[in-house]
């Protein structure tokens, strides 16, 4: 599929760009992840608006999460989430065994320290999508073995 590569390249360049501008002293270093996350947030908001245009109204939170795992994930990452788990109290764990934005990185531990910056945008994407559907959340990601990745979504109760 032709549209896969440009997104990956663009995503890599965005990260490069943000870290380059930070190096030249325009922003302090800790804010880079936040900037990436905020970018993702805005994109997620727009994207979910478009994707949910023709779907029926969601029944509940779980219904929304399923939509994120299936349709939303397929649209952005060309595959579905491999495993969705929940404690039914507002915590959801989305596991992707071959996360696309990490799949081009070496599978060993060599680039482990760089993983967070490749996940920040996606965290924002999920958080933005959920927020536009009226679900406030905190999304964090963790990697234990390289192309696999776990996103933890904590729903903030109003």
């Amino acid at each position: 599929m032709a549209d896969e590569a440009p997104f990956q390249f663009l995503h890599n360049e965005v990260i490069q760009y943000i870290y380059k501008t930070a190096e030249s002293g325009e922003t302090e270093n800790g804010r880079n992840i936040t900037r990436l996350e905020n970018m993702g947030f805005r994109v997620g908001q727009g994207l979910i608006e478009r994707l949910t245009k023709d779907t029926a109204r969601f029944k509940d939170e779980l219904d929304i999460m399923k939509f994120i795992c299936k349709d939303f994930w397929t649209c952005v990452f060309k595959k579905q989430i491999d495993n969705l788990r929940t404690n039914h109290q507002g915590i959801y764990v989305l596991q992707d065994n071959k996360f696309r934005l990490l799949s081009q990185l070496s599978a060993g531990n060599q680039y482990m320290e760089h993983a967070p910056k490749y996940l920040a945008f996606s965290c924002g994407l999920v958080r933005g999508g959920l927020s536009n559907l009226g679900v406030k959340s905190i999304v964090t990601a963790e990697v234990s073995v390289m192309p696999a990745c776990k996103f933890q979504v904590m729903i903030q109760k109003m």
Binding site: Q45, E49, R50, K53
Partner: protein, 139 residues
């Protein structure tokens, strides 16, 4: 054709409202504002077994002496309200439906515009054009 078209944010403040200039604008604001209660009622019925309505189009919200008020709620809880003249009996449900659909498509384009800030009022010429096409032509 519509006499008033409004877009209301999920926090229930107006994002866009336009009515035919010849008539009392305040009255339309009031009508739209009143309709929000009905919208709320219809959405909260979703998920309960009786009258489970999962379509985005809510249908006729309520008729008044002079107007009929139709509603539509997107998945992001943004509300569209269209007010039509009661005397206009030729307007079918399907036409209203397609008006909402057009409105929704155009709204999505606005939301995906990187220069638009979500939550701000809508200032888009394309959206204006779509709305103008659906309003009653006066004069």
């Amino acid at each position: 054709m519509a006499v008033c078209i409004a877009v209301i944010a999920k926090e229930n403040y107006p994002l866009y409202i336009r009515s035919v200039p010849t008539q009392n604008e305040l009255k339309f604001h009031y009508t739209v504002h009143t309709s929000l209660d009905v919208v709320e009622e219809k959405i909260s019925a979703v998920g309960k077994a009786l009258g489970d309505q999962r379509e985005l189009y809510l249908g006729l919200l309520y008729p008044t002496e002079d107007f009929k008020v139709y509603g539509y709620v997107t998945n992001s809880k943004v509300k569209f309200v269209i007010v039509v003249d009661s005397s206009n009996t030729s307007l079918r449900d399907n036409e209203i439906r397609s008006m909402f659909r057009k409105l929704h498509n155009s709204f999505t384009d606005v939301m995906c515009n990187p220069f638009h800030n979500p939550g701000d009022t809508i200032q888009s010429k394309a959206f204006d054009g779509i709305v103008s096409g659906m309003m009653v032509q006066t004069g």
